[in-house]
Each structure stands twice: as structure tokens, then as C-alpha cells.
């Protein structure tokens, strides 16, 4: 399994575009600088600044879309060059293959949120909007870790659909719809969709965040767990069928 994961990372070296996608992590920190320059001015509470840069649209929209694209690319690559047959001949265990792809998604998600955290601190401190204090920085890093780990699990359904498909059109459209659904369901029912459940888990202790639904952290974990398990089963069935 570890060798498979290593091979997956070695393959990434040839894919420049995947590294280019990390630039999307800078979007919200840069947007926050423009927002606070026009609205608030200097002396902003660091947590409020980080809420803009790292705890809002980044976990709701940007990170899920980027991870969804990554899932599609990882799976489509093997299909495009007809590599799967050769992998099955080696033989490679189908679930090990699936989870090695997931490991890449997980590590990429952590890298993405670390870039967001670094950019948040740099843009906030360098522009003079927030003071540098270790307590808020540690809080930001902890939250970014939570977001990255949970989002990687929350996009498992996209990875499973990408594994079940030969093309890239359906998984990509599904990524957009899946992310949009998670964002909208935040306001309706947070315990139906893994992405909105992830938000419930991450946001519950952020100062100033008020939920209009009763908070139920076990239900949120259960939602993510059920969807992840169902995705693993779907991926297994799809990969076994595709001989």
C-alpha cells in the first residue's frame, strides 16, 4: 500500500497543472485584503480576518471544487492512457488502488490549506490589518488541519464516481453540483451532505458564528462516515466490474 502511495506521488511530478491549482488557495486571502481595505481599515480582529480568508468560501466552495478536479484528473489519467489493465495484471488490489488515490487527495488537501493559512497570515500581517500573535496563528493552523482532513473525506463520493467513469465530463459536472448542493444545504439541513456536515464540525467553536439549526456534531460525523463508506463500496463495485 505504501509503495502504491509512493507511486501515485511520483506520477504527480509530471503534472504541472495540479501544482498550479494550489494558486487557488491564494484567492480568498487576496480577496480579504481588498475587502478590508475598502470596508474595515486596520486593527481588525485576527479571527475575523481568518474567518474571511480561510473559514468561509475556501472550505465551502474553493477547496471542494479543487479536490473534485484533482480526483477526476487522478482517475481519468489512468483511463486516458489505458493503464488500468496493466495495473490489474501486476496485480494491484482494487481497493488499495482506490485508497492510494485518496491518500494523494488527503495530502493535497493538507498542502492546500497550509498554503491558505500561510497566505492568510502573510497578507494580514504584511498589510497591517492584523497583529501577529501566536495564539491566533495556532488556532488558524488547527482549523485549517480540521478543514483539510474532513474535506478530503467529504469529497470521497466524487472520487468514487470518477473511479466508476471512463470520461471526465460527468465527474467534473458532479463536482460542481455536489459543491453547490453542500453550500446551499448549509442553510437547510447540515446533516444530509458531507460538505455541510464538515462545516458544522469546523465552525461550531469559531467566535461570532451563529447556527440557525441545532448543533449535532455526532450526526455530522455520522453523515461524513456513511457517505465515505458508501463511496468506498461504490468504488469497489465499479472497479471490480471494469475488468
Amino acid at each position: 500500500m505504501l509503495k502504491l502511495i509512493q507511486v501515485e506521488f511520483l506520477k504527480l511530478r509530471r503534472r504541472k497543472f495540479i501544482w498550479l491549482m494550489l494558486l487557488a488557495a491564494l484567492f480568498m486571502p487576496l480577496a480579504a485584503v481588498f475587502y478590508f481595505s475598502s470596508v474595515k481599515g486596520t486593527g481588525v480582529d485576527p479571527i475575523m480576518f481568518y474567518k474571511w480568508t480561510a473559514f468561509s468560501y475556501t472550505p465551502w466552495i474553493i477547496l471542494p471544487v479543487v479536490l473534485g478536479m484533482l480526483c477526476t484528473m487522478l482517475m481519468y489519467n489512468e483511463n486516458q492512457y489505458d493503464m488500468l489493465k496493466q495495473l490489474w495484471i501486476v496485480p494491484v488490489n482494487k481497493m488499495a488502488y482506490f485508497f492510494s488515490k485518496f491518500a494523494v487527495v488527503l495530502v493535497y488537501s493538507i498542502c492546500f490549506m497550509l498554503v491558505t493559512a500561510t497566505a492568510s497570515i502573510l497578507t494580514g500581517v504584511l498589510s497591517g490589518y492584523i497583529p501577529f500573535d501566536s495564539e491566533s496563528v495556532l488556532y488558524l493552523l488547527r482549523k485549517c488541519m480540521e478543514i483539510s482532513l474532513l474535506t478530503a473525506f467529504a469529497v470521497l463520493p466524487v472520487l468514487a464516481v470518477a473511479a466508476a467513469q471512463k470520461g471526465y465530463i460527468l465527474p467534473v459536472c458532479l463536482t460542481l453540483i455536489y459543491t453547490f448542493l453542500g453550500f446551499i444545504l448549509l442553510m437547510v439541513n447540515m446533516y444530509l451532505h458531507p460538505l455541510s456536515s464538515m462545516t458544522a464540525i469546523v465552525m461550531y467553536d469559531i467566535p461570532g458564528v451563529v447556527f440557525d439549526q441545532p448543533l449535532n456534531i455526532p450526526a455530522a460525523f455520522l453523515c461524513i462516515g456513511v457517505w465515505a463508506a458508501a463511496s468506498a463500496v461504490l468504488a469497489n463495485v465499479a472497479l471490480v466490474r471494469r475488468k
Binding site: Y57, Q80, C173, I184
Partner: protein, 244 residues
């Protein structure tokens, strides 16, 4: 020649699943916004307000989903010739590659308008079922105009991205990511009055009538979208010179 190219491209699309997938994405957008309409504000659900569904669906779809789907279709049509290795055969005929790309762009434009009209049809049907008596002809026609102009405007706004993809051939991933970030950034552009006027995605809303815009803002919006079209034509022309 152009007519033949358009016919051939439409035949290729018929055989592809992408139209069904795009239709499915549009229906899903309708369903998701309908789910949002269940949200209660001051003891009243959003969906209970006549016209809310039609108005909310087009703006949310434009900021989050449809531009990326339209650019995906445009880039898919262009990149598939390279991917499926049919470009060599087309060159042997010979087919003018710029005309071929233009035919694909025209189809993407038609698709953009149709997808917005499909969303309008879905939202209108739901509104009619929920509260037909509260819907006025003026409200329905106003929304039809907004959806139609959104379809036209969004295509013009994203045409440079599709043209860029035509130049890069294998850059369909870029088209998707660019289009998604481009449309999503419209949310932030709409916070500033000046930016709202000049940013292509929000300029579309000024033209369509979704935003309350004065004549000057509408004219600026038209100019901005024309600049987008000229930019995409220049990219295509530059690419033609390169291939010759």
C-alpha cells in the same frame, strides 16, 4: 462550408453524453435552489414569494455552476479533436481550423442560451405550480428576458477562456478552473459599485436587468462584453497564424 461544419458539429454532439449531463446539471441546480427556498425567514419560506425562485436560480447558477458547464462544453468540443486524434483526418480533408473552431464556438453560444432557457422553463413551471395566480405576465416576461440575456452575456464573458483553450488544445482543465474562479469572483466584484460595472460576469447582470443599472452602466457592460468577444477573436486569429 460553415453550414456543413455546424451540421457536423451538431451531429457529433448528438452522439455525445455531454448534452444530457449538462441538462442534468441544470435540473439539479433547479432542485438545489428549490431546497434553499425551504429556508424560513420571519415565518415565511423563501419559495412562497412569487418570483423568488426564478430570480434566485439564475443568479446562483451564474455565480456557481453554469459558466463552468458552458466552458466545459466549449472546451470539450475543441479538445476532443486532439484527444481522439481526429484532427489529422480533418486537416487532410482539408478543413479550415479557424472556421471549425468558430463553428464550435457558435454551437457553444447556442448551448449557452438553451441551457439558460431550460433553467427558466424549470423555474417557471415550479412557480406556476406553486402560485400561478400571483404570477403576472410582466414578471414572467421580465424573467425570460433576464435569462435570455444571461445566456448570451455569459457566453460572451467566457469566450476568451474557450478561445484560449482552442489555442492550448489540451487545456480543458484550465478552462474549467478559470471559468469557475472567474464566475465565483463575480460575487466579490458585486460588492463594489465600480467593479460591478466593469467585471464581465456582473456586467452581464447589469445588461440583463437583474441588477438595477442605469443606462451608462448598461453601455459600459456592452462595451466590456464586446471587448471579451474581440479578445477571443484575436486569440483565435493569432492561433491561426501560428498554425499556418
Amino acid at each position: 462550408m460553415m453550414k456543413d461544419l455546424l451540421w457536423a458539429e451538431s451531429q457529433k454532439l448528438h452522439r455525445s453524453k455531454i448534452l444530457w449531463i449538462a441538462g442534468f446539471a441544470t435540473v439539479m441546480v433547479g432542485l438545489i435552489v428549490f431546497a434553499q427556498g425551504q429556508f424560513t425567514f420571519y415565518d415565511r419560506r423563501y419559495i412562497d414569494g412569487a418570483g423568488w425562485f426564478m430570480t434566485a436560480a439564475q443568479s446562483l447558477a451564474t455565480f456557481y455552476v453554469l459558466p463552468a458547464v458552458i466552458s466545459l462544453l466549449g472546451s470539450y468540443m475543441i479538445c476532443r479533436e486532439e484527444q481522439e486524434d481526429t484532427l489529422k483526418s480533418l486537416r487532410l480533408i482539408p478543413v479550415d481550423e479557424v472556421k471549425l473552431t468558430l463553428a464550435k464556438m457558435i454551437l457553444a453560444f447556442v448551448f449557452s442560451v438553451l441551457i439558460y432557457l431550460l433553467l427558466f422553463a424549470i423555474t417557471f413551471l415550479v412557480e406556476a405550480v406553486l402560485h400561478l395566480e400571483a404570477l403576472s405576465v410582466g414578471l414572467v416576461l421580465e424573467n425570460l428576458k433576464i435569462y435570455f440575456l444571461d445566456g448570451v452575456g455569459v457566453f460572451f464573458a467566457i469566450s476568451p477562456i474557450i478561445a484560449l483553450v482552442a489555442r492550448m488544445k489540451k487545456g480543458y482543465w484550465l478552462a474549467l478552473v478559470f471559468a469557475e474562479i472567474y464566475s465565483f469572483a463575480g460575487l466579490f466584484a458585486s460588492m463594489s459599485q465600480q467593479l460591478k460595472t466593469v467585471y464581465p460576469m456582473t456586467a452581464v447582470f447589469n445588461i440583463s436587468g437583474y441588477y438595477n443599472a442605469n443606462m451608462f452602466q448598461v453601455l459600459i457592460g456592452v462595451v466590456i462584453l464586446m471587448v471579451c468577444v474581440i479578445l477571443s477573436l484575436l486569440i483565435l486569429k493569432g492561433w491561426n497564424r501560428k498554425t499556418k
